[in-house]
Amino acid sequence: MSFKIASSPHQHNQRSTAQIMFMVALACLPGIAVQAVLFGYGVLVQLALAIVTAWCSEALVLKLRGKAVLVRLKDHSALLTAVLLAIAIPPYAPWWIIVIGTAFAIIMVKQLYGGLGNNLFNPAMAGYVLLLVSFPLQMTQWLPPLSLQSIELAPWDAVCAVFSQYSCSGFSLTQLQTSIDGVTMATPLDTLRTDLSRGLTLDESRQNPVFYGFAGAGWLWLNLAYLAGGLLLIQQKIISWRIPVAVLSSLFVLSAIAALATPDTIAGPLFHLFSGGTMLAAFFIATDPVSASTTNTGRLCYGALIGLLVFLIRNFGGYPDAYAFAILLANMAVPLIDYYTRPRTYGHRTRSELK
């Protein structure tokens, strides 16, 4: 018998990094389910592709870096990146889109910066932005909700569409995107942007069937599902409430003020909160611990900055949705935010007196 030497503390909390990552991925399930039901099963195909790609690229790089592969694969961080990217891209985007995006996210954005914990940018969002900039056409082909589609899509069609861009019965994605009356349909945010640029007012634009409800057909439910998942994460103390609250409230306040000032061109706060990827971004992506701010005050600043950027890009920028850019830009500001929001240490007065 020998005695074991260990450093204190000898007692540990039982929640591990892998569990945290896995819980976040699980909390995406309501959103994924809603997306699969309302927008077709493309998302599931994308998920499968993304996860396989993520595991393969992670294992490859870890092998090249001479690290233990299995231990690090088991931390589920690659899984989470894959899930977030797969649910962010259009469900019927061609298969190589998600493969390129995920591989880029894992290899370039995460591992080349030193692996988990060392990446400056959120891998999923960096991958998303790469795809958006490189393949704008494929990345904006969001099919309308199934209820608005003129052509029925069988579950098997999802696989065909992702791999060949044609459904099994031979319809192209463009055809699928076309409504019964022959108009190409896009996401509500996209439609609104196009209409406004055509000189239509907000009210005129909202006659379009994609604006069913106050946030757009299907999108409201999708966002509500992510909100539910997010609230679960906060309740489980896996994410801090500060970032989502700051994101949502800053977006709400800004769009409320702007909508009151110019009601014809800027949609109201509820539209902004429940359309596009707002909830997904606020609860699942902005809260990525690695690339987010780490101090309590800093998290509020970081969230508010994201809200501001989302508002600005959606309403005045060149892209219909903006959370990916907003989060990447806020990631860049994190070191600065962290530096200036250091909490006061016990027994020290203020930062200025420290000097």
């Binding site: 018998m1 020998s2 005695f3 074991k4 030497i5 260990a6 450093s7």
Partner: protein
């Protein structure tokens, strides 16, 4: 003509900026320690002379005049790194094969000491006490571990012994704790 105007304009601008910069350089001159002082502060002050200079300050002066920064074995890597930062040069490894060793102090085996005072004369920091024909001993707290007393000793009674670790100075090296096997 245009060319001339341009040349004159640029010339005048150059003059103005030069004047401004010159004024700023004089007016806002940053008072700093002379370089030698700064280097001397970084050196470990063992005064061992292993760098080839008699003491740390002469070496500091030599560095300021362009000598290599990697001649100080007692300072080790950290000193070289600091010197490299200060001098704006690459940190080079120690020029000898000397690895950074544990801290040592001189120890005189007192029953063998003949009282020749040679080590006392060699010690740069007066850390050896004793008188002619009487036993000498090392003040451990003052010894810098420079090695200089070992060579002059005619009877080789000086050893460099590693400084004993005390609980206060212990570096939390848990892996080094010997574990007793039972049964």
């Amino acid at each position: 003509m245009t060319l001339l105007t341009a040349l004159i304009a640029i010339g005048v601008l150059a003059l103005i900026f030069g004047a401004v910069l010159g004024f700023a350089a004089v007016r806002f001159k940053v008072e700093s320690d002379p370089l030698v002082e700064q280097i001397d502060d970084i050196l470990p002050q063992t005064q061992c002379g292993q760098c080839g200079y008699p003491g740390c300050r002469p070496y500091a002066e030599a560095i300021a005049n362009g000598d290599d920064i990697n001649k100080c074995p007692p300072g080790g890597e950290s000193t070289i790194r600091k010197l490299a930062d200060l001098m704006g040069v690459e940190a080079t490894p120690l020029n000898e094969a000397q690895t950074e060793s544990v801290k040592r102090v001189a120890y005189i085996r007192e029953d063998e000491c003949i009282g020749c005072t040679k080590c006392i004369q060699a010690c740069p920091v007066d850390a050896i006490v004793g008188a002619s024909k009487l036993m000498h001993t090392v003040l451990i707290d003052e010894c810098t571990g420079c090695d200089l007393c070992v060579e002059p000793c005619p009877v080789d009674c000086i050893d460099m012994v590693p400084l004993a670790t005390t609980p206060e100075r212990w570096k939390w090296d848990l892996a080094a704790i010997p574990v007793k096997m039972v049964e």
